[in-house]
């Protein structure tokens, strides 16, 4: 049974990202030492968009990197299917940088745990802050986001999907019925 509800449309996503961009600049009192790291794959497109918005506001293009967390997952031994490994590309040092980690949906927090472990392997950031488009709750680890597009209380039996133009051709956030 097709049971799909749009909870955020293209304009909604864009307004949220604009607000997050301003919040990032406000909280960090400018863009000095700021870098963006997008988590594959959804987080990468969102990080690119934030980079553009910050450039528009402050006139500075802050560095952006791409992180694949597969090698740091805590379920590799349990899962008989090996997730396809993507490329990590962080072409700058993270030492003493304020890292804005970007992902599309914050759920159990396990992805963010893996991402933080990976970041630490790249250097010693001054600070790591987390930006997500959707926070759907159900945390299994003590992790919270610093910048949230939309809080979306959801049932564990629902799937929250963030569709982005770069990947699927449309910008929308949907809740899909029983999974």
């Amino acid at each position: 049974m097709e049971n799909k509800k749009v909870v955020m449309d293209a304009d909604g996503i864009d307004r949220s990202l604009t607000r997050i961009a301003y919040e990032i600049i406000e909280k960090n009192k400018g863009v000095t030492e700021l870098v963006l790291v997008g988590i594959r794959t959804g987080g990468v497109f969102l990080a690119e968009r934030l980079q553009k918005k910050i450039l528009k506001i402050e006139g500075v293009e802050i560095p952006m990197g791409i992180l694949d967390i597969t090698l740091y997952r805590d379920d590799l031994q349990k899962n008989p299917k090996k997730p396809l490994l993507g490329k990590t590309d962080i072409p700058f040092s993270l030492d003493n940088k304020k890292v804005i980690l970007v992902d599309d949906v914050l759920f159990t927090g396990r992805t963010i745990r893996a991402a933080m472990d990976a970041l630490i392997d790249f250097g010693r950031p001054k600070m790591i802050q987390l930006s997500v488009l959707i926070d759907r709750g159900h945390r299994e680890l003590p992790i919270r986001a610093d910048f949230v597009g939309k809080n979306l209380p959801s049932s564990l039996w629902e799937a929250v999907a963030v569709h982005l133009t770069e990947k699927t051709g449309t910008d929308e956030v949907v809740i899909e019925g029983t999974v």
Binding site: L71, K82, L84, L85, G86, K87, D121, F122
Partner: protein, 306 residues
Amino acid sequence: MKLAKKDLLGIQDLSVEEINLILDTAESFIEVSTREIKKVPTLRGKTIINLFLEASTRTRTSFEIAGKRLSADTINISSSTSSIVKGETLIDTAKNLEAMNPDVVVIRHSAAGAPHILAKAVKQAVINAGDGSHEHPTQALLDLMTIRSKKGKIDGLKVAICGDIAHSRVARSNIYALTKMGASVAVAGPATMMPRYIERMGVQAYSKLEEAIIDADIVMMLRIQLERQNEHIFPSLREYATYFGLNRKNISLAKKDVLVMHPGPVNRGVELAPDIADAPFSVILDQVTNGVAVRMALLYLLTGGN
């Protein structure tokens, strides 16, 4: 995605999709080796035994580094220090190693088929690191990876493989690999080093080096196995170098953007003139770098998940 296999025994039984999966995964692993901290926690708590019953520096070191960069514990066993010298059979050695619960056994053996026997005897993943004159699948995979990253494709390229084709597991694995991926393969070597009916493997065979390398995109030179000199398969090194050595003159027959490859160790001045081995179009050291990534990819794809 996962390789639908317990072991990696040869290229012959890999599909094009599986080869592509290994190469794509390996490309993502390249980055790990460029980090300041060259280690990821992926295979923490896994044990890899490198059972090298034949001499090797490159392959053994490469497997060991690959395992360590994935945080696995790697143990090396070489023939001189193993119970094989006390007369233990391969199966008994394997059964004893199995009893210590490793996760992967990497084996190099002078007998063709030894990894296959081992794979049947133990429940762990077995990786063939070279068996006699049969196959050397990880070498062929790292060669494919090097070609793909330098040329952007493999399909439609012309590859010449030259030297001791008959005794070369590198040649055999590469012929399987390259023809599967759509390259056309020419082989050349002295008659004593050419297997009969080699054309049945889907290659063009030539008795002169020059004929094979005309318009080649890739020239892959094989190591002349000096230890075989007393088998009288070639009269002298000088004669071999004259007729089957790659040099500044005959390389000009190949395409302008030709790449020269060699599985190592190189006999300078025999199969490769020194200036060719060091030329900018020689990718011998890229092959070694890619070897670590290919082996990391295989260890990742063949372990875990029950």
